[in-house]
């Protein structure tokens, strides 16, 4: 033990800057943990690639007459990007259950900052991680006939970030309610599988049975996937008929929902989920 000078530290008065620092350091922790976890990067990479090349390749010949000459894998590409985000982001969100189990949640929640800053930092962290992870799929664009267009890539990443933010918020909301680590993963599976299948990530939204049309249009994930597909398909050469079948857009009755409004839906859903999560976390001890 050495007799060092006592650095005279006093904690600052509450301020927005302090809240921002707190959110930032929570974000940073997600980055550090992600960068240390090679296994996770690899494990979460495999499933989307299987879907893209195995399912896409396998079903390709079967559905070729319906795609107007478009490679089925090209059609799947935006959906598989979304899938990658869905897996990674929901996992990031639910990881708060482990933070609770190992006591670290307490360290965060007992600090003199608002719960909102903590949850927001965690959500931004999860969204960033999921977006970075999706780059693994994005760089394969050329293999499935999607051009390497820088502007498109940037737009896709931005949209995926919004999607990831919404899904992480959903994961956080779940982890606020689920206390047992054993039930966390099964619950995530239970939620993300229908979210994915009912979002139009794997099939076009045209010519669906009526009940499926209703369900897909109620799923916020649909509004996050469609802008990605829109941005990618804009860069593809295809007949108008094929485009109408493969990327019909989202319709509320006879109203074609513009892309900006789809994004607004995603933002509103994110805000709602995040607010609910903050509410639950500030109420638990």
């Amino acid at each position: 033990m050495t007799e060092t000078r006592i650095a005279n530290v006093r904690v600052l008065k509450p301020s927005l800057a302090h809240e921002a620092r707190a959110a930032l350091v929570v974000w940073e922790r997600e980055m550090i943990r992600f960068s240390r976890d090679r296994t996770r990067v690899f494990a979460q990479m495999v499933q989307p690639l299987l879907f893209l090349f195995v399912l896409g390749g396998g079903l390709g010949s079967l559905v070729s007459h319906g795609t107007g000459g478009l490679d089925f894998r090209t059609f799947l590409f935006p959906g598989v990007l979304s899938m990658s985000v869905l897996f990674t982001a929901s996992f990031s969100g639910i990881s708060m259950v482990w933070d609770r189990e190992f006591g670290f949640l307490r360290e965060m929640l007992v600090a003199p900052v608002s719960t909102a800053s903590i949850v927001l930092g965690k959500c931004l962290g999860g969204a960033t991680v999921a977006t970075i992870q999706s780059i693994v799929v994005l760089v394969l664009a050329g293999l499935v006939g999607v051009p390497y267009d820088l502007l498109m890539m940037a737009q896709v990443l931005l949209l995926l970030f919004l999607m990831a933010f919404m899904i992480t918020a959903l994961g956080l909301l779940l982890s606020a309610r689920v206390k047992q680590v054993q039930s966390a993963m099964p619950l995530v599976q239970l939620i993300i599988t229908p979210l994915m299948f009912l979002s139009g990530a794997l099939f076009p939204l045209s010519n669906l049975p009526p009940w499926l049309t209703v369900v897909t249009h109620l799923n916020p994930m649909t509004y996050a996937v469609e802008p990605v597909r829109h941005v990618v398909f804009e860069r593809l050469q295809m007949s108008d008929a094929a485009r109408a079948t493969l990327d019909p857009g989202i319709w509320w009755g006879s109203f074609a929902v513009p892309v900006w409004l789809q994004i607004v839906v995603v933002l509103v859903a994110s805000a709602g989920l995040l607010t609910a999560a903050v509410g639950f976390f500030s109420r638990t001890e």
Binding site: M1, I6, R10, V25, E107, P112
Partner: protein, 329 residues
């Protein structure tokens, strides 16, 4: 002890009650902890120590009563209380996938520690608990004692006025326990800090300026260790005899003393133990091989007030003749 330092007491509680669904964990306690003192909080398992600390640290709301910590109300000035306290939980709360220093950096940012001094402060607290050399290692690779020390360092990082330590030495080897108490003593010398500590180790309680003994949700004794021991009044006498059973019976009939066989010795408590020994030889009627008289220890204090010894607490409420004897008091 710095009872004369100006300013509000470090902790001031009135009529604190905490009722859970099935238990009343805290049943109305009043407590004042002065600035600068080291205050020990003792009690058997489930006495309500952790619950009391959680109320004082704004982690749970009291069912009734009020408390002020560092001059701030725990119910209405939550963030002010939190900024002024350091907290080391009974259960670990470190992130094992971060390094020691990253854990501290995280804490400093959450508590808004001034960036200009944060690095110095991290160095200082890590140096103090002897972990500066290991700052870059993942916490997962630390031993239990190292983690505990890191948690204490973290609790100090933001220069709290009151440091709450809930069983900081549980499960640690004797050397580490000693070193942790050295840090606590050093802390008081260096910083204007009040330490509020719970422990199950009686020898550790001796380090405290004052101690409170809690039992079944109530504070049953509160004073300096010396005063508490003096108040017991009785010394512990242990004898070995040719026939222990006969000796116990004789103690009862000749002196009206209840004795019990503890660790192979006939043990009882009596006022003025040393002066009692001649009477013992005179009237017991059973050959005595050896006599030991001990002044009351904090163990005896604990026993007298809670009807159980700390060793019983560890081994989860076995029947103890000593406890039974004191329970009648």
């Amino acid at each position: 002890m710095n009872q004369t330092v100006a300013g509000p007491p470090a902790v001031e509680a009135h009529g604190l009650v905490k009722r859970y669904k099935h238990v009343e964990a805290v049943r109305g306690i009043d407590l004042t902890v002065y600035r600068g003192e080291t205050f020990g909080f003792l009690g058997p398992n489930g006495a309500g120590k952790s619950t009391t600390i959680k109320i004082l640290c704004t982690l749970v709301d009291a069912t009734a009563g009020t408390a002020r910590v560092a001059g701030f109300d725990v119910a209405s000035e939550r963030d002010a209380v939190r900024r002024n306290i350091g907290l080391v939980y009974q259960e670990p709360t470190l992130d094992g996938y971060l390094t020691a220093e990253q854990n501290l950096r995280f804490h400093g940012e959450l508590y808004g520690v001034d960036r200009a001094t944060a690095a110095d402060r991290r160095h200082e607290v890590l140096e103090m608990v002897g972990l500066w050399e290991r700052r870059g290692d993942l916490v997962n690779e630390f031993s239990g004692g190292m983690r505990r020390r890191l948690e204490i360092a973290r609790g100090l990082l933001h220069s709290p006025r009151v440091l709450f330590l809930d069983e900081p030495t549980i499960g640690l080897d004797p050397q580490t326990r000693v070193s942790i108490w050295r840090y606590i003593a050093e802390l008081r010398a260096r910083e204007d800090i009040t330490v509020f500590v719970t422990t199950h180790y009686m020898d550790e309680a001796e380090h405290c300026d004052r101690i409170a003994i809690m039992n079944e949700g109530l504070i049953v004794a509160l004073d300096t260790p010396e005063a508490l021991k003096a108040a017991i009044g009785k010394d512990r006498v242990q004898i070995t005899t040719a026939d222990d059973t006969a000796a116990i019976a004789a103690l009862e009939s000749a002196f009206g003393l209840k004795a019990a066989l503890l660790e192979g010795q006939v043990t009882f408590a009596v006022a003025g133990g040393a002066a009692f020994v001649p009477h013992l030889f005179e009237k017991l009627g059973v050959p005595i091989h050896s006599v030991t008289v001990t002044r009351p220890s904090l163990d005896d204090v604990f026993l007298a007030h809670t009807g159980t010894t700390i060793r019983d607490v560890e081994s989860k409420g076995q029947f103890s003749p000593m406890a039974a004897r004191y329970r009648g008091r």
